[in-house]
Protein backbone atom coordinates (compact mmCIF):
# COMPACT_ATOMS: atom_id res chain seq x y z
CA UNK A 1 0.00 0.00 0.00
CA UNK A 2 1.14 3.50 -0.68
CA UNK A 3 -0.40 4.83 2.52
CA UNK A 4 2.92 6.04 3.86
CA UNK A 5 3.61 7.70 0.61
CA UNK A 6 0.28 9.46 0.92
CA UNK A 7 1.06 10.88 4.27
CA UNK A 8 4.37 11.99 2.86
CA UNK A 9 4.96 14.85 0.50
CA UNK A 10 2.09 14.16 -1.85
CA UNK A 11 -0.37 14.74 0.93
CA UNK A 12 0.95 18.24 1.45
CA UNK A 13 0.34 19.14 -2.16
CA UNK A 14 -3.40 18.83 -1.76
CA UNK A 15 -5.06 22.25 -1.74
CA UNK A 16 -6.12 23.45 1.68
CA UNK A 17 -9.69 24.30 0.81
CA UNK A 18 -10.59 20.73 -0.04
CA UNK A 19 -12.91 18.95 2.23
CA UNK A 20 -11.67 15.42 2.72
CA UNK A 21 -13.46 13.29 5.24
CA UNK A 22 -11.11 11.21 7.36
CA UNK A 23 -12.19 7.92 5.81
CA UNK A 24 -12.10 9.21 2.26
CA UNK A 25 -8.45 8.72 1.62
CA UNK A 26 -8.65 5.12 2.59
CA UNK A 27 -11.53 4.65 0.21
CA UNK A 28 -9.60 6.28 -2.58
CA UNK A 29 -6.62 4.11 -1.95
CA UNK A 30 -8.76 1.05 -1.96
CA UNK A 31 -9.23 2.00 -5.57
CA UNK A 32 -12.55 2.97 -6.94
CA UNK A 33 -13.91 0.56 -9.45
CA UNK A 34 -14.28 3.46 -11.88
CA UNK A 35 -15.54 7.02 -12.29
CA UNK A 36 -19.17 5.97 -11.86
CA UNK A 37 -18.17 4.26 -8.65
CA UNK A 38 -16.52 7.45 -7.44
CA UNK A 39 -19.53 9.55 -8.37
CA UNK A 40 -21.90 7.20 -6.60
CA UNK A 41 -19.68 7.32 -3.57
CA UNK A 42 -19.84 11.12 -3.49
CA UNK A 43 -23.58 11.13 -3.97
CA UNK A 44 -24.22 8.60 -1.25
CA UNK A 45 -21.79 10.20 1.14
CA UNK A 46 -23.60 13.49 1.03
CA UNK A 47 -27.06 11.92 0.94
CA UNK A 48 -27.75 13.48 -2.40
CA UNK A 49 -30.83 12.41 -4.32
CA UNK A 50 -29.42 10.76 -7.36
CA UNK A 51 -32.42 11.96 -9.34
CA UNK A 52 -31.60 15.57 -8.54
CA UNK A 53 -27.85 15.97 -8.49
CA UNK A 54 -26.44 19.40 -7.69
CA UNK A 55 -24.02 19.41 -10.59
CA UNK A 56 -21.79 22.25 -9.49
CA UNK A 57 -21.09 20.77 -6.09
CA UNK A 58 -20.66 17.19 -7.26
CA UNK A 59 -18.42 18.23 -10.10
CA UNK A 60 -16.25 20.20 -7.71
CA UNK A 61 -15.91 17.27 -5.37
CA UNK A 62 -15.27 14.86 -8.19
CA UNK A 63 -12.48 17.05 -9.48
CA UNK A 64 -11.05 17.25 -5.99
CA UNK A 65 -10.77 13.51 -5.78
CA UNK A 66 -9.29 13.27 -9.21
CA UNK A 67 -6.70 15.78 -8.14
CA UNK A 68 -5.94 13.74 -5.04
CA UNK A 69 -5.63 10.61 -7.09
CA UNK A 70 -3.23 12.39 -9.40
CA UNK A 71 -1.36 13.70 -6.40
CA UNK A 72 -0.87 10.29 -4.82
CA UNK A 73 0.09 8.99 -8.22
CA UNK A 74 -2.66 6.42 -8.38
CA UNK A 75 -2.80 4.86 -11.76
CA UNK A 76 -5.44 7.20 -13.07
CA UNK A 77 -7.53 5.68 -15.78
CA UNK A 78 -8.38 7.95 -18.66
CA UNK A 79 -12.00 7.14 -17.92
CA UNK A 80 -11.83 9.41 -14.88
CA UNK A 81 -10.82 12.34 -17.04
CA UNK A 82 -13.51 11.57 -19.59
CA UNK A 83 -16.04 11.67 -16.78
CA UNK A 84 -14.63 14.96 -15.59
CA UNK A 85 -15.27 16.40 -19.05
CA UNK A 86 -18.79 15.01 -19.06
CA UNK A 87 -19.52 16.58 -15.69
CA UNK A 88 -18.14 19.92 -16.80
CA UNK A 89 -20.28 19.84 -19.90
CA UNK A 90 -23.45 19.04 -17.99
CA UNK A 91 -22.67 21.75 -15.49
CA UNK A 92 -22.31 24.35 -18.21
CA UNK A 93 -25.53 23.29 -19.90
CA UNK A 94 -27.32 23.58 -16.58
CA UNK A 95 -26.25 27.20 -16.45
CA UNK A 96 -27.86 28.05 -19.77
CA UNK A 97 -31.41 29.32 -19.57
CA UNK A 98 -33.84 26.65 -20.69
CA UNK A 99 -35.99 27.46 -23.67
CA UNK A 100 -39.58 28.12 -22.63
CA UNK A 101 -40.94 25.50 -24.96
CA UNK A 102 -38.49 22.90 -23.82
CA UNK A 103 -38.95 19.43 -25.02
CA UNK A 104 -39.50 17.23 -21.99
CA UNK A 105 -36.89 14.80 -23.17
CA UNK A 106 -34.36 17.54 -23.65
CA UNK A 107 -35.28 19.19 -20.39
CA UNK A 108 -32.58 17.85 -18.11
CA UNK A 109 -28.96 17.69 -19.22
CA UNK A 110 -28.32 15.27 -16.37
CA UNK A 111 -30.65 12.60 -17.69
CA UNK A 112 -28.10 10.42 -19.43
CA UNK A 113 -25.65 10.58 -16.54
CA UNK A 114 -28.37 9.68 -14.06
CA UNK A 115 -29.46 6.77 -16.21
CA UNK A 116 -25.93 5.42 -16.24
CA UNK A 117 -25.53 5.90 -12.51
CA UNK A 118 -28.77 4.10 -11.76
CA UNK A 119 -27.93 1.30 -14.10
CA UNK A 120 -24.50 0.89 -12.59
CA UNK A 121 -25.94 1.04 -9.09
CA UNK A 122 -28.07 -2.01 -9.81
CA UNK A 123 -25.07 -4.05 -10.80
CA UNK A 124 -23.15 -2.81 -7.82
CA UNK A 125 -25.92 -4.14 -5.62
CA UNK A 126 -25.85 -7.42 -7.54
CA UNK A 127 -22.12 -7.56 -7.05
CA UNK A 128 -22.54 -7.12 -3.31
CA UNK A 129 -25.11 -9.90 -3.23
CA UNK A 130 -22.73 -12.14 -5.09
CA UNK A 131 -19.86 -11.28 -2.81
CA UNK A 132 -22.00 -12.01 0.25
CA UNK A 133 -22.99 -15.48 -0.92
CA UNK A 134 -21.36 -18.37 0.88
CA UNK A 135 -18.61 -19.50 -1.43
CA UNK A 136 -16.87 -22.83 -1.73
CA UNK A 137 -13.48 -22.64 -0.04
CA UNK A 138 -14.49 -19.61 1.98
CA UNK A 139 -17.67 -20.53 3.87
CA UNK A 140 -18.44 -23.89 2.34
CA UNK A 141 -16.24 -26.93 2.19
CA UNK A 142 -16.75 -30.08 0.23
CA UNK A 143 -16.18 -33.56 1.62
CA UNK A 144 -13.13 -35.29 0.29
CA UNK A 145 -13.41 -38.84 1.48
CA UNK A 146 -10.95 -41.45 0.27
CA UNK A 147 -12.45 -44.60 -1.06
CA UNK A 148 -11.40 -47.92 0.38
CA UNK A 149 -10.65 -50.76 -2.06
CA UNK A 150 -10.62 -48.55 -5.09
CA UNK A 151 -10.13 -50.53 -8.20
CA UNK A 152 -10.26 -49.07 -11.62
CA UNK A 153 -11.35 -51.46 -14.26
CA UNK A 154 -12.38 -50.14 -17.56
CA UNK A 155 -15.96 -51.20 -18.08
CA UNK A 156 -16.81 -53.25 -21.12
CA UNK A 157 -18.17 -51.21 -24.01
CA UNK A 158 -21.90 -51.03 -24.34
CA UNK A 159 -23.33 -52.10 -27.66
CA UNK A 160 -26.94 -51.59 -28.59
CA UNK A 161 -28.93 -53.52 -31.12
CA UNK A 162 -28.86 -50.42 -33.28
CA UNK A 163 -25.07 -50.44 -33.22
CA UNK A 164 -25.12 -54.05 -34.29
CA UNK A 165 -27.62 -53.55 -37.08
CA UNK A 166 -25.76 -50.46 -38.21
CA UNK A 167 -22.63 -52.54 -38.55
CA UNK A 168 -24.50 -55.15 -40.51
CA UNK A 169 -25.96 -52.53 -42.80
CA UNK A 170 -22.43 -51.33 -43.48
CA UNK A 171 -21.46 -54.85 -44.47
CA UNK A 172 -24.47 -55.16 -46.74
CA UNK A 173 -23.71 -51.85 -48.34
CA UNK A 174 -20.45 -53.25 -49.53
CA UNK A 175 -22.36 -54.42 -52.52
CA UNK A 176 -20.08 -57.02 -53.93
CA UNK A 177 -19.44 -58.74 -50.67
CA UNK A 178 -23.14 -59.23 -50.44
CA UNK A 179 -23.53 -60.36 -54.02
CA UNK A 180 -21.01 -63.14 -53.79
CA UNK A 181 -21.91 -64.58 -50.47
CA UNK A 182 -25.22 -65.90 -49.50
CA UNK A 183 -25.50 -64.42 -46.10
CA UNK A 184 -28.50 -65.35 -44.12
CA UNK A 185 -30.25 -67.67 -46.37
CA UNK A 186 -32.08 -69.46 -43.64
CA UNK A 187 -34.41 -68.03 -41.07
CA UNK A 188 -32.43 -66.98 -38.06
CA UNK A 189 -34.15 -69.50 -35.84
CA UNK A 190 -32.61 -72.20 -38.01
CA UNK A 191 -29.19 -70.59 -37.82
CA UNK A 192 -29.48 -70.38 -34.10
CA UNK A 193 -30.55 -74.00 -33.82
CA UNK A 194 -27.57 -75.02 -35.90
CA UNK A 195 -25.33 -73.49 -33.26
CA UNK A 196 -27.15 -75.27 -30.48
CA UNK A 197 -26.99 -78.63 -32.22
CA UNK A 198 -23.31 -78.24 -32.82
CA UNK A 199 -22.89 -77.63 -29.12
CA UNK A 200 -24.79 -80.85 -28.35
CA UNK A 201 -23.14 -83.26 -30.73
CA UNK A 202 -19.62 -84.48 -30.32
CA UNK A 203 -17.12 -85.75 -32.79
CA UNK A 204 -15.92 -88.58 -30.55
CA UNK A 205 -19.33 -90.12 -29.97
CA UNK A 206 -22.81 -90.39 -31.32
CA UNK A 207 -25.82 -88.43 -30.31
CA UNK A 208 -29.14 -89.94 -31.02
CA UNK A 209 -31.01 -88.02 -33.70
CA UNK A 210 -34.22 -87.98 -31.69
CA UNK A 211 -32.47 -86.46 -28.70
CA UNK A 212 -32.04 -83.26 -30.67
CA UNK A 213 -35.78 -82.72 -30.74
CA UNK A 214 -37.69 -81.50 -27.76
CA UNK A 215 -41.24 -82.60 -27.38
CA UNK A 216 -42.35 -79.41 -25.68
CA UNK A 217 -41.42 -77.29 -28.69
CA UNK A 218 -44.24 -78.54 -30.84
CA UNK A 219 -44.23 -78.76 -34.57
CA UNK A 220 -42.50 -75.48 -35.08
CA UNK A 221 -39.53 -76.60 -33.01
CA UNK A 222 -39.37 -79.88 -34.89
CA UNK A 223 -39.33 -78.09 -38.22
CA UNK A 224 -36.63 -75.68 -37.12
CA UNK A 225 -34.47 -78.47 -35.70
CA UNK A 226 -34.92 -80.59 -38.80
CA UNK A 227 -33.98 -77.71 -41.11
CA UNK A 228 -30.98 -76.98 -38.93
CA UNK A 229 -29.78 -80.59 -39.15
CA UNK A 230 -30.22 -80.64 -42.92
CA UNK A 231 -28.30 -77.41 -43.23
CA UNK A 232 -25.52 -78.76 -41.01
CA UNK A 233 -25.31 -81.87 -43.14
CA UNK A 234 -25.24 -79.80 -46.30
CA UNK A 235 -22.39 -77.74 -44.92
CA UNK A 236 -20.64 -80.98 -43.84
CA UNK A 237 -20.65 -79.87 -40.25
CA UNK A 238 -22.32 -83.02 -38.97
CA UNK A 239 -22.61 -86.55 -40.18
CA UNK A 240 -25.75 -88.66 -39.98
CA UNK A 241 -25.32 -92.37 -39.48
CA UNK A 242 -27.94 -95.06 -39.76
CA UNK A 243 -26.77 -98.63 -39.62
CA UNK A 244 -29.84 -100.15 -41.23
CA UNK A 245 -33.28 -99.03 -42.35
CA UNK A 246 -35.48 -97.95 -39.43
CA UNK A 247 -32.59 -98.21 -37.02
CA UNK A 248 -31.98 -95.15 -34.81
CA UNK A 249 -30.21 -92.35 -36.60
CA UNK A 250 -27.11 -90.99 -34.94
CA UNK A 251 -25.56 -87.59 -35.30
CA UNK A 252 -21.87 -86.95 -35.03
CA UNK A 253 -19.89 -83.76 -35.44
CA UNK A 254 -17.71 -83.98 -38.52
CA UNK A 255 -14.57 -85.59 -37.20
Amino acid sequence: MSAVLVRGEEWSKIPDDLYIPPDALEVILEEFAGPLDLLLYLIRRDNIDVLDIPMAEVTRQYMTYVEIMKAVKLELAADYLVMAAVLAEIKSRMLLPRPASADVEEADPRAELVRRLLEYERYQAACEDLEARPRVGRELFLPEIPMEARNLERPAPKVTLDDLLGALRAVMQREDAFAHHRIMREPLSVRERMTRILEQVRSDGFTEFSMLFQVGEGKRGVVVTFLAILELVRESLVTLIQNEPFAPIHVKAAA
Binding site: V104, D129, V136, G137, L140
Partner: protein, 221 residues
Protein backbone atom coordinates in the same frame (compact mmCIF):
# COMPACT_ATOMS: atom_id res chain seq x y z
CA UNK B 1 -22.71 -54.41 9.13
CA UNK B 2 -26.34 -54.14 8.20
CA UNK B 3 -27.61 -54.47 4.69
CA UNK B 4 -26.43 -51.85 2.23
CA UNK B 5 -29.27 -49.58 1.25
CA UNK B 6 -29.63 -47.39 -1.80
CA UNK B 7 -29.31 -44.31 0.35
CA UNK B 8 -26.03 -45.53 1.84
CA UNK B 9 -24.62 -46.00 -1.62
CA UNK B 10 -25.84 -42.61 -2.76
CA UNK B 11 -24.41 -41.01 0.35
CA UNK B 12 -21.06 -42.75 -0.09
CA UNK B 13 -20.92 -41.56 -3.68
CA UNK B 14 -21.70 -37.96 -2.73
CA UNK B 15 -18.93 -38.08 -0.13
CA UNK B 16 -16.22 -39.36 -2.44
CA UNK B 17 -17.21 -37.89 -5.80
CA UNK B 18 -15.59 -34.48 -5.39
CA UNK B 19 -18.19 -32.93 -7.68
CA UNK B 20 -21.97 -32.69 -7.84
CA UNK B 21 -23.67 -35.84 -9.13
CA UNK B 22 -26.71 -35.93 -11.37
CA UNK B 23 -29.48 -38.49 -10.93
CA UNK B 24 -28.17 -40.21 -14.05
CA UNK B 25 -24.71 -40.48 -12.58
CA UNK B 26 -26.12 -41.78 -9.30
CA UNK B 27 -28.15 -44.34 -11.21
CA UNK B 28 -25.06 -45.50 -13.05
CA UNK B 29 -23.60 -46.70 -9.76
CA UNK B 30 -25.94 -49.63 -9.80
CA UNK B 31 -25.73 -52.74 -11.91
CA UNK B 32 -28.23 -52.75 -14.70
CA UNK B 33 -30.44 -55.36 -13.12
CA UNK B 34 -30.48 -53.53 -9.79
CA UNK B 35 -31.07 -50.08 -11.25
CA UNK B 36 -33.22 -48.06 -8.85
CA UNK B 37 -36.05 -45.96 -10.23
CA UNK B 38 -35.58 -42.20 -10.43
CA UNK B 39 -38.10 -41.85 -7.64
CA UNK B 40 -36.09 -44.19 -5.43
CA UNK B 41 -33.00 -42.08 -5.97
CA UNK B 42 -34.95 -38.94 -5.17
CA UNK B 43 -36.25 -40.67 -2.06
CA UNK B 44 -32.71 -41.60 -1.05
CA UNK B 45 -31.61 -37.99 -1.50
CA UNK B 46 -34.49 -36.83 0.66
CA UNK B 47 -33.52 -39.28 3.36
CA UNK B 48 -29.94 -38.06 3.22
CA UNK B 49 -31.10 -34.47 3.43
CA UNK B 50 -33.17 -35.28 6.49
CA UNK B 51 -30.41 -37.32 8.13
CA UNK B 52 -27.97 -34.45 7.61
CA UNK B 53 -30.16 -31.97 9.43
CA UNK B 54 -28.44 -32.71 12.71
CA UNK B 55 -24.85 -32.67 11.46
CA UNK B 56 -22.31 -30.48 9.74
CA UNK B 57 -23.31 -31.34 6.18
CA UNK B 58 -26.17 -30.21 4.00
CA UNK B 59 -27.39 -31.38 0.63
CA UNK B 60 -27.28 -28.81 -2.13
CA UNK B 61 -28.50 -28.99 -5.72
CA UNK B 62 -26.35 -27.32 -8.35
CA UNK B 63 -27.71 -27.31 -11.87
CA UNK B 64 -29.62 -30.58 -11.40
CA UNK B 65 -26.69 -32.26 -9.71
CA UNK B 66 -26.35 -32.91 -6.00
CA UNK B 67 -23.52 -32.48 -3.57
CA UNK B 68 -22.95 -32.54 0.17
CA UNK B 69 -21.24 -29.50 1.64
CA UNK B 70 -20.51 -28.20 5.10
CA UNK B 71 -22.89 -25.64 6.50
CA UNK B 72 -21.66 -22.07 6.40
CA UNK B 73 -21.78 -21.92 10.22
CA UNK B 74 -18.73 -24.18 10.31
CA UNK B 75 -16.55 -21.79 8.37
CA UNK B 76 -14.80 -20.27 11.41
CA UNK B 77 -13.42 -23.66 12.45
CA UNK B 78 -12.81 -25.11 9.04
CA UNK B 79 -10.91 -22.07 7.85
CA UNK B 80 -8.36 -22.87 10.54
CA UNK B 81 -7.90 -26.25 8.93
CA UNK B 82 -6.43 -24.77 5.81
CA UNK B 83 -3.34 -22.63 5.88
CA UNK B 84 -4.25 -21.03 2.61
CA UNK B 85 -6.51 -18.03 2.90
CA UNK B 86 -9.39 -18.07 0.44
CA UNK B 87 -8.58 -15.90 -2.56
CA UNK B 88 -9.89 -12.36 -2.55
CA UNK B 89 -11.05 -10.67 -5.67
CA UNK B 90 -11.05 -6.97 -6.42
CA UNK B 91 -14.26 -5.03 -6.90
CA UNK B 92 -13.45 -4.73 -10.58
CA UNK B 93 -13.30 -8.51 -10.96
CA UNK B 94 -16.48 -9.13 -9.00
CA UNK B 95 -18.43 -6.36 -10.73
CA UNK B 96 -17.42 -7.75 -14.08
CA UNK B 97 -18.51 -11.20 -12.97
CA UNK B 98 -21.85 -9.89 -11.69
CA UNK B 99 -22.53 -8.10 -14.95
CA UNK B 100 -21.69 -11.21 -16.97
CA UNK B 101 -23.88 -13.33 -14.69
CA UNK B 102 -26.90 -11.06 -15.11
CA UNK B 103 -26.47 -10.04 -18.72
CA UNK B 104 -24.96 -13.08 -20.35
CA UNK B 105 -24.10 -13.56 -23.08
CA UNK B 106 -22.38 -10.19 -23.09
CA UNK B 107 -19.30 -8.53 -24.49
CA UNK B 108 -16.49 -6.64 -22.87
CA UNK B 109 -17.81 -3.47 -24.53
CA UNK B 110 -21.17 -3.84 -22.85
CA UNK B 111 -19.53 -4.42 -19.48
CA UNK B 112 -17.41 -1.32 -19.99
CA UNK B 113 -20.48 0.72 -20.89
CA UNK B 114 -22.13 -0.24 -17.60
CA UNK B 115 -19.07 0.12 -15.43
CA UNK B 116 -17.95 3.33 -17.11
CA UNK B 117 -14.37 2.15 -17.14
CA UNK B 118 -12.18 -0.04 -19.28
CA UNK B 119 -12.25 -3.74 -18.42
CA UNK B 120 -8.68 -4.92 -18.52
CA UNK B 121 -7.80 -8.24 -20.14
CA UNK B 122 -6.42 -9.26 -16.77
CA UNK B 123 -9.89 -9.18 -15.29
CA UNK B 124 -11.27 -11.37 -18.05
CA UNK B 125 -8.28 -13.69 -17.79
CA UNK B 126 -8.71 -14.02 -14.05
CA UNK B 127 -12.34 -14.99 -14.45
CA UNK B 128 -11.61 -17.42 -17.25
CA UNK B 129 -8.71 -19.09 -15.45
CA UNK B 130 -10.95 -19.42 -12.41
CA UNK B 131 -13.40 -21.11 -14.80
CA UNK B 132 -16.21 -18.86 -13.68
CA UNK B 133 -16.79 -17.51 -17.16
CA UNK B 134 -16.06 -18.68 -20.66
CA UNK B 135 -16.42 -17.42 -24.13
CA UNK B 136 -19.73 -18.69 -25.41
CA UNK B 137 -19.65 -17.17 -28.87
CA UNK B 138 -18.89 -14.13 -30.92
CA UNK B 139 -21.12 -11.14 -31.44
CA UNK B 140 -21.85 -10.49 -35.10
CA UNK B 141 -20.90 -6.85 -35.10
CA UNK B 142 -17.80 -5.13 -36.44
CA UNK B 143 -14.76 -6.42 -34.61
CA UNK B 144 -16.62 -9.61 -33.75
CA UNK B 145 -16.17 -9.26 -29.99
CA UNK B 146 -16.27 -12.32 -27.77
CA UNK B 147 -19.48 -13.08 -25.90
CA UNK B 148 -19.01 -14.28 -22.34
CA UNK B 149 -21.24 -16.33 -20.11
CA UNK B 150 -20.93 -17.99 -16.72
CA UNK B 151 -20.06 -21.66 -16.27
CA UNK B 152 -21.24 -24.54 -14.19
CA UNK B 153 -18.19 -24.00 -11.98
CA UNK B 154 -19.54 -20.52 -11.28
CA UNK B 155 -22.80 -22.03 -9.98
CA UNK B 156 -20.84 -24.56 -7.96
CA UNK B 157 -18.54 -22.00 -6.42
CA UNK B 158 -21.23 -19.49 -5.55
CA UNK B 159 -23.57 -22.17 -4.27
CA UNK B 160 -26.29 -21.49 -6.83
CA UNK B 161 -28.88 -24.06 -7.79
CA UNK B 162 -29.26 -22.26 -11.10
CA UNK B 163 -28.87 -18.75 -12.50
CA UNK B 164 -32.47 -18.20 -11.51
CA UNK B 165 -31.27 -18.51 -7.95
CA UNK B 166 -29.54 -15.13 -8.22
CA UNK B 167 -31.62 -12.43 -6.61
CA UNK B 168 -33.29 -10.31 -9.27
CA UNK B 169 -31.66 -7.02 -10.15
CA UNK B 170 -33.16 -4.17 -8.19
CA UNK B 171 -35.80 -2.04 -9.86
CA UNK B 172 -34.45 0.70 -12.02
CA UNK B 173 -35.49 4.08 -10.63
CA UNK B 174 -36.58 6.55 -13.28
CA UNK B 175 -36.06 10.25 -13.38
CA UNK B 176 -39.17 12.33 -13.16
CA UNK B 177 -40.17 13.28 -16.65
CA UNK B 178 -38.12 10.53 -18.19
CA UNK B 179 -40.03 8.26 -20.45
CA UNK B 180 -40.03 4.60 -19.67
CA UNK B 181 -38.82 3.53 -23.08
CA UNK B 182 -35.44 3.46 -21.49
CA UNK B 183 -32.39 2.60 -23.44
CA UNK B 184 -31.17 -0.62 -24.83
CA UNK B 185 -29.12 -1.93 -21.90
CA UNK B 186 -32.07 -1.65 -19.55
CA UNK B 187 -34.30 -3.57 -21.91
CA UNK B 188 -31.75 -6.29 -22.20
CA UNK B 189 -31.41 -6.55 -18.48
CA UNK B 190 -35.15 -6.86 -18.08
CA UNK B 191 -35.20 -9.52 -20.74
CA UNK B 192 -32.53 -11.45 -18.94
CA UNK B 193 -34.44 -11.32 -15.71
CA UNK B 194 -37.47 -12.74 -17.43
CA UNK B 195 -35.36 -15.58 -18.77
CA UNK B 196 -33.79 -16.19 -15.41
CA UNK B 197 -37.09 -16.39 -13.60
CA UNK B 198 -38.50 -18.69 -16.26
CA UNK B 199 -35.57 -20.96 -15.67
CA UNK B 200 -36.18 -20.76 -11.96
CA UNK B 201 -39.78 -21.75 -12.48
CA UNK B 202 -39.07 -24.82 -14.53
CA UNK B 203 -36.46 -25.81 -12.00
CA UNK B 204 -38.93 -25.34 -9.21
CA UNK B 205 -41.44 -27.56 -10.93
CA UNK B 206 -38.89 -30.31 -11.07
CA UNK B 207 -38.00 -30.31 -7.47
CA UNK B 208 -40.83 -28.77 -5.54
CA UNK B 209 -40.07 -31.02 -2.67
CA UNK B 210 -36.69 -29.39 -2.18
CA UNK B 211 -37.79 -25.86 -2.70
CA UNK B 212 -38.15 -24.78 0.87
CA UNK B 213 -35.21 -26.73 2.16
CA UNK B 214 -33.00 -25.62 -0.64
CA UNK B 215 -33.71 -21.98 -0.21
CA UNK B 216 -33.18 -22.25 3.49
CA UNK B 217 -29.83 -23.89 3.15
CA UNK B 218 -28.79 -21.40 0.55
CA UNK B 219 -29.31 -18.40 2.73
CA UNK B 220 -26.02 -17.36 4.23
CA UNK B 221 -26.08 -17.40 8.00
Amino acid sequence: MSEIRIRDIVQAALLVAGEPLTLERLGSLFAEEAQPARSELMGALEEIRAACADGPLELQCIDKAYRLQTRAEYAPWLNRLFAERPARYSRAVLETLAIIAYRQPTTRGEIEAIRGVAVSSDIIKTLISREWIRQVGTKEVPGRPALYGTTRAFLENFNLTSLGDLPPLSELKTMPGQTADATEPVDQAAEFEATASEAAESEAAESEAHESETSRSEAPP
